[in-house]
Subunit: 405 residues, 2 copies
């Protein structure tokens, strides 16, 4: 039997066996894009679960609660609200996050520690727990509820982000699915990227942790919309084992396939987040090769996607390639101008530090594509990395300058 | 005799004794704000000179030439063009920068090594040396030429930036003066901040180096417009000793006064640069105190001025204080939420991690002031620092999205 990873048409977070979800409007988010702001995910069987959290030293209360409960082998529910981040809320915020989890556990008939809370929205406002208490019991859980889940966690996203793939291998067949919300910070302050992954794969907790860390490094840790790290950023995976495939062990060939599929899911969702960044009109993909080390390749790639000057130039289809070189030069990565080659959308611009004759208007046309691909070869070693970002438009500033109460 | 540092009304870079300057239009910059793009500064006596340069690994050709010639005790001329940065121009760029200096030396009747070249403007275009050769001899040098000098080095600046102070002390009386140009990156690419300081003080070279480094750290290294480090950034000082004060020695009381005056000059010019940042409508001053170390205070202060979310919120007078806390929290500085206090424009918002009741509309009004002052006390140690930045407007994006050839 050959190995395969196949996308599931219309896949969503409940595509994995045994997962149900649902959502409702609880009045927490004033303007939820799809009229829902409270979502619940439930697994029939206990899940092995693990998460990567924001590196911001200011961590939202639900992040602290989840951090305490993970890794775990008994997670069965996840409750998420949009509209209020429950960050910078002190002791009462911690109590509120725990209450939210307890309410989800009651709804699902499980013990409180087996439920996880998460929030996204305005920093510094108290979570309206009473609204959660009154609306959570009314949520209708179903295997089709994944789409509602993905919509209810949105803040300033313009479209839901969800995906599922079916993995087939000698040890069985399983599904990896996920939903994410993007970096939306329309006033008030919504500085949060959340991504939740489900899988019915039967996998060791240690293998699950290993794979999530690797996938997170390659995907969500390689995207930027505006360089601000949120207080709530979370990438969570729940594996309930219901596919009954032969247990995937750490270091096995099967784990490598699981990794590959999880990478695909995470990269798909991460790219969806940046291409729907606030005010974004273009996805920017930066491939750095020939760096002295892999970490230096990451540094250079992220410096380019993070540069306001690169972002605005691409927004205006301005062939200002010098900004790309300058951003990489100040990234901290080793850099020798006379070694560097640069191509943009397949067009060679610089070869070993010398300008290649090219027609600026042709480059400008290429910069108008939906995805702009920048290939930078530092020619110093074997380190390579890919980062994703988006252009910066006037709308980005408008969105983030407005205050709406 | 008491010590004093007094601003000179209408002071400019030629306020220091023995300095002359002049400028002309040489056709290098297509749209020079004041119709000049080539400036020359000359000192009657040889100067002790030292400079701090960009940390970008991509350094413009004139930066490399200056770096080779400094520190020095024989500098007498400085020639600066706007419109072309002479960066990413390879070997020919280096020759062009040296030619530019040689032409200035010929004009002034000094040896080539005693002249310094500097450029600001588009990256990746060759310097039109023939235009410099034909126009430089026509520049009219005079002691009133400082104002023309400050205007000719401008790119997207909307106003010239110049200052002079007179220092009086027991050892004599001297002047420190300077001119700067700002981070203007209107298309094409002008990613350059330049600052030139003159003084007629009689000072040891070692004391001059020490003081410039300290002043640079406190001023130009604490400002940000958009976080992009240029290929040309330069802070240069020239001291010709013509005030004939008693030699200022390193570590002396006189040096401390010189330091204080130089700090004032540099901070004034650095603040002028950010308040005239592209599209800026407000100056943002961030005072961080109580950090674990001074470096951590700098990190936190610069993270706040560098945050697009803080910059856009202040642009919209949006009282989104959570963005300030979040930016500081992800700066890398030690941070304990429960210790932190925050005031904005004198209004207390957060006290030791708890929200102080305040009226958002009052805060919003304060954010409409020309200068917004943010005071953040981390309450962890004695480290403190001040950083300056500006708000981010739609105009910033517009300016940097446009390409004009």
């Amino acid at each position: 039997m050959s190995e395969s990873i196949v996308p599931i048409n219309g896949g969503c977070i409940t595509s994995s066996r045994g997962f149900q979800a649902g959502a409702i409007y609880a009045g927490i988010n004033k303007h939820p894009p799809f009229g829902m702001d409270l979502a619940l995910l439930y697994s029939q069987s206990p899940c092995k679960a693990f998460a990567m959290f924001t590196t911001n030293r200011v961590k939202a209360a639900p992040v602290l609660v989840c951090r305490d409960r993970l890794p775990s082998e008994c997670i069965q529910a996840l409750v998420v609200n949009s509209g209020v981040a429950n960050a910078c809320t002190g002791e009462s915020g911690l109590k509120d996050a725990a209450s939210m989890a307890r309410l989800a556990a009651e709804k699902c008939g499980i013990t409180p520690e087996c439920a996880l809370p998460m929030s996204t929205g305005v920093i510094g406002r108290p979570l309206p727990v009473e609204r959660i208490a009154s609306h959570l019991p009314l949520i209708n859980l179903s295997t089709e509820g994944g789409t509602a889940f993905a919509r209810a966690i949105m803040t300033t996203d313009t479209r839901p982000k969800e995906v599922a793939v079916k993995v087939t291998c000698s040890s069985g067949e399983y599904i990896i699915a996920g939903a994410a919300k993007g970096a939306g910070m329309i006033a008030p302050n919504m500085a949060t990227t959340l991504c939740f992954i489900t899988t019915d794969a039967n996998i060791e907790l240690e293998a699950l942790k290993y794979c999530l860390k690797r996938a997170g490094e390659k995907s969500f840790n390689m995207i930027t919309v505006d360089g601000d790290t949120s207080t709530n950023d979370t990438l969570l995976i729940m594996a309930n084992g219901m596919a009954k495939n032969r247990l995937i062990a750490k270091g096995s060939k099967e784990m490598n396939l699981f990794q590959k599929a999880l990478d695909q899911v995470c990269i798909f969702l991460a790219r969806s987040v940046v291409s729907d960044g606030e005010g974004a009109t273009r996805l920017i993909t930066v491939n750095v090769s020939g760096a002295y080390t892999k970490n230096q390749a990451k540094l250079a790639a992220k410096a380019i996607t993070g540069s306001n000057l690169v972002k605005t130039a691409i927004h205006g289809a301005d062939p200002n390639w010098g900004r790309i070189i300058s951003a990489a030069g100040s990234s901290g990565a080793r850099f020798d101008e006379s070694c560097v080659s640069l191509s943009i959308c397949g067009m060679q611009i610089w070869r070993k530090g010398e300008i290649v004759g090219f027609e600026p208007s042709l480059l400008s046309n290429k910069l108008k594509q939906d995805e702009v691909v920048i290939d930078l070869d530092l020619n110093l070693g074997n380190g390579s990395a890919t980062a994703w970002g988006c252009d910066m438009s006037e709308e980005y500033v408008t969105i983030n300058s407005e205050y709406t109460t």
